[in-house]
């Protein structure tokens, strides 16, 4: 059964305190792993797509990495505006399977 598990459920960081979010997955024939950011009351916003183990993508303070079983979203020196829920999704085909997200709060 295709599954996506994200950890931790919630994370509180001091501004400037780097950390990582985890996304573990089991899927038959991964065609892509996706990271999204969701602000309260809004639709998820696309961040990254990773297609194969070893691939890395960066955007500002965020870097996403992928192995055969998990992906990490590294946040370097976060700022309060990085506070949001971060969602991971995997796609074995036309459908996408989402994790329940990590709620990140960055304290000034």
């Amino acid at each position: 059964e295709d599954q996506v598990t994200q950890s931790p459920e919630a994370l509180r960081l001091q501004e400037g305190e780097s950390s990582s979010l985890n996304c573990s997955y089991t899927v038959s024939g991964l065609r892509g792993l996706f990271w999204y950011r969701q602000d309260p009351g809004k639709g998820p916003e696309f961040l990254f797509t990773l297609y194969s183990a070893g691939e890395e993508k960066e955007k500002e303070r965020l870097k996403a990495t992928l192995t055969k079983k998990e992906s990490f979203l590294h946040i370097t020196a976060p700022k309060p505006e990085d506070s949001a829920t971060y969602l991971c999704a995997v796609s074995p085909g036309n459908q996408f399977y989402f994790g329940t997200g990590t709620s990140l709060t960055v304290i000034p």
Partner: protein, 111 residues
């Protein structure tokens, strides 16, 4: 560029009333279209997806239905709303297995 429109943004409906949420996509042809529901503090639950006009796949048996009358139009409906239908409804599109683009969502409260 591709854009997705979803409306209304918020909706308060009494139990037993009908529902119609609309989603349209611009700037692309033959997109895959999706309806998701997100309950408070929970993940995204896929409700319906469509790979073409008139083609609807249902993931969760429930009080809701979906239709795709035009290539870039996706409608979520209910004949009689239940309290449990409350939630945040998201429309999304994708093309050729690339990541989703989500609409801005509809907050539905059934009272």
């Amino acid at each position: 560029s591709q854009t997705i429109h979803q409306w209304p943004a918020t909706l308060v409906q009494p139990v037993g009333s009908p529902l119609s949420l609309e989603c349209t996509v611009e700037g692309t042809s033959n997109p895959n279209l999706y309806w998701y529901r997100q309950a408070a503090g929970r993940g995204l639950q896929l409700l319906f997806y469509s790979v073409g006009i008139g083609q609807i796949s249902s993931e969760v048996p429930q009080n809701l239905s979906a239709s795709r009358p035009q290539d870039r139009q996706f409608i979520l409906s209910s004949k009689k709303l239940l309290l449990s239908d409350s939630g945040f409804y998201l429309c999304a599109w994708s093309s050729q297995g690339y990541g989703y683009t989500f609409g801005s969502g509809t907050r539905l409260t059934v009272v």
